[in-house]
């Protein structure tokens, strides 16, 4: 009975082999090399690098800003996806296409544009700075560019889910006496939570690794607006490769734990959706 274990789809071993090969070549080997490089440090050196005040401030800023940006993106992204799915308006397709722009635009350009807009004599800066809102070379600026780069992830994960909602379910809620808000809050929103969590995770991951746009707007002031990826680059420029990889590993481990947690949350919320 040699056919008993055969799969309907052919090529399982071949495709799995390719997948593992590329995954190893492109992801696992570089990551492994990171660990090898970091092991050139003694434990004390490692600890001194990753637990310095400057490093801790950089982690806090990186995670904090990415977290806030991803959260804001969930709100804006949900609204944007809602408008794109639910309403018809002129040029809708162009607006839809613009959503993907942050993915295509070199992020350094975004950072430069944001910085030049928000400096005290920039277009927005000359209005906002007198009001006490300073975005250029501050943490606010970092959050703003991270919102920019992360937005497409939330929109593109929520949009298809919204499109697939059965209109009958909303009609059922309406005929059962629910108001529009109750329908959204009790019927639609719970169905969107898994997609929102996925979008949040992607935007967060993007924000954690973002470098190009942030360096131009943050000013990179130690302990204030210096993000962890910039600190790593700074170490590289000082030829301290071991320390740079040590910081990278801390960032990596934190990110993995965080994404793992979000995944669990997502799975839990998806259980009955």
């Amino acid at each position: 009975m040699s056919t008993a274990n055969q799969r309907v789809l052919p090529g399982f071993s071949l495709s799995l082999g390719y997948t593992l090969f590329y995954l190893t070549l492109l992801v696992l080997i570089p990551l492994g090399a990171c660990f090898v490089k970091a092991s050139s440090l003694t434990f004390d050196q490692f600890w001194a690098t990753v637990w310095s005040e400057r490093a801790c401030n950089a982690y806090a800023l990186t995670f904090g800003a990415a977290f806030i940006a991803a959260f804001v993106n969930c709100l804006i992204g949900l609204l944007l996806a809602w408008v794109l799915v639910r309403y018809e308006f002129p040029m809708k397709r162009y607006f839809d296409a613009i959503v993907d722009l942050p993915l295509a635009l070199p992020t350094a350009v975004a950072g430069l544009v944001y910085a030049s807009l928000y400096v005290p004599n920039g277009w927005l800066g000359q209005v906002l700075v007198p009001l006490g809102i300073e975005a250029a070379y501050t943490r606010l600026g970092i959050v703003l560019v991270l919102i920019f780069t992360g937005l497409p992830f939330v929109v593109r994960t929520v949009q298809p889910v919204l499109e697939n909602f059965d209109p009958e379910v909303e009609e059922a809620a309406a005929s059962l006496g629910a108001t529009r808000w109750q329908t959204f809050r009790r019927v639609l929103f719970p169905g969107l939570v898994p997609a929102l969590l996925t979008g949040f995770a992607l935007a967060l991951a993007r924000g954690l690794g973002e470098y190009g746009s942030v360096v131009f707007i943050s000013g990179n002031i130690q302990n204030q607006t210096e993000i962890a990826p910039f600190l790593i680059v700074a170490k590289l420029e000082e030829f301290k490769y071991g320390e740079a990889t040590a910081l990278a590993i801390v960032l990596l481990v934190f990110s993995l734990v965080l994404l793992g947690l979000i995944n669990l949350l997502e799975r839990w919320s998806k259980k009955h959706a």
Binding site: A174, S175, G177, A178, G191, H272
Partner: protein, 352 residues
Amino acid sequence: MSITVRNVSKRFGNFAALDRVSVDVPGGSLVALLGPSGSGKTTLLRIIAGLEVADEGEVHCAGEDITRQRPGERNMGFVFQHYALFRHMSVLENVAFALRVRGRPESSIQERVRQLLHLVRLDGLERRYPSQLSGGQRQRVALARALAAEPRVLLLDEPFGALDAKVRQELRQWLRHLHDDIGVTSLFVTHDQEEAFEVADQVVVMQRGRVEQTGTPQEVFEHPANAFVMDFLGNVNVFHGRVQSGRARFGSLAYPCPEYQYEEERSAAVYVRPHELEIDRNATGEGSLPARVQHVIAAGSVAKIQVLVADSGQDLAIEMSRERLAELKLQAGDSVYVFPRRAHVFCGEYCI
């Protein structure tokens, strides 16, 4: 509570889904809207529920004009063909939904849900999710959900359309019993005439956005108002012939039709149901057609026989009791004579 629909029209672009439709649903009755797909029956139901807005005309419920009310204000229970249950909610939460959005106290909600689940025979499934239920169970949850806030009217859109034959049969009879128990005015849409006849007190037959006939199941079956109703309600054999001064002639047959007293000849269609055609071995005077037996299906509660009329080459479907079949000992290839015991003659307007 009674529903009255007055001259309701609805267009979707160039398509007239409803054309000045008027329907009366007496309080406490169970009425079926019966018609082929595209006849406008679902649109009518959705207009009554407020899910669709009529272009013209009025909808009244218990004498009150509800044409401009939002769905939620109408307090009507609506059951969808594909259940439209809230997937992320348990059975309990689904059924409790209408009570929760009305802000009823928790204790009374629990009590009411328990009562309703007992009514739809789903006791003990409160904690299940829709994905863990069978189709029939889901539709009963949808029904309990629609009944939760004690609606004035229950509207069902092809409620059993997505279920398999056996479950459909059971649920039909169960719906009839449920209606007899709780007596809520109910209107349901179906394209299955058997379902409409079995369940409903009154049947409204619709076609192309119009009401063709309204009446009890027996009335519409025995006395179809026109050829469409005749044709839609079960199988028919159609003969094309001519009428003149109260007689219809088709082939070598003649049949009296006193309602058509035309002086000149007009073309007409003669409709005969399979059980109204008789077969005999011998010719019975002038009123029979020579034919050849093509196929005999003896399995089932009645025997079905296919014959081919000798001169016109027309296929006829005939039904008879199994006893009569045994008596005649019919077999494929036999030469027989066929004549109608009863026929409906329709002149002009509609042709298949």
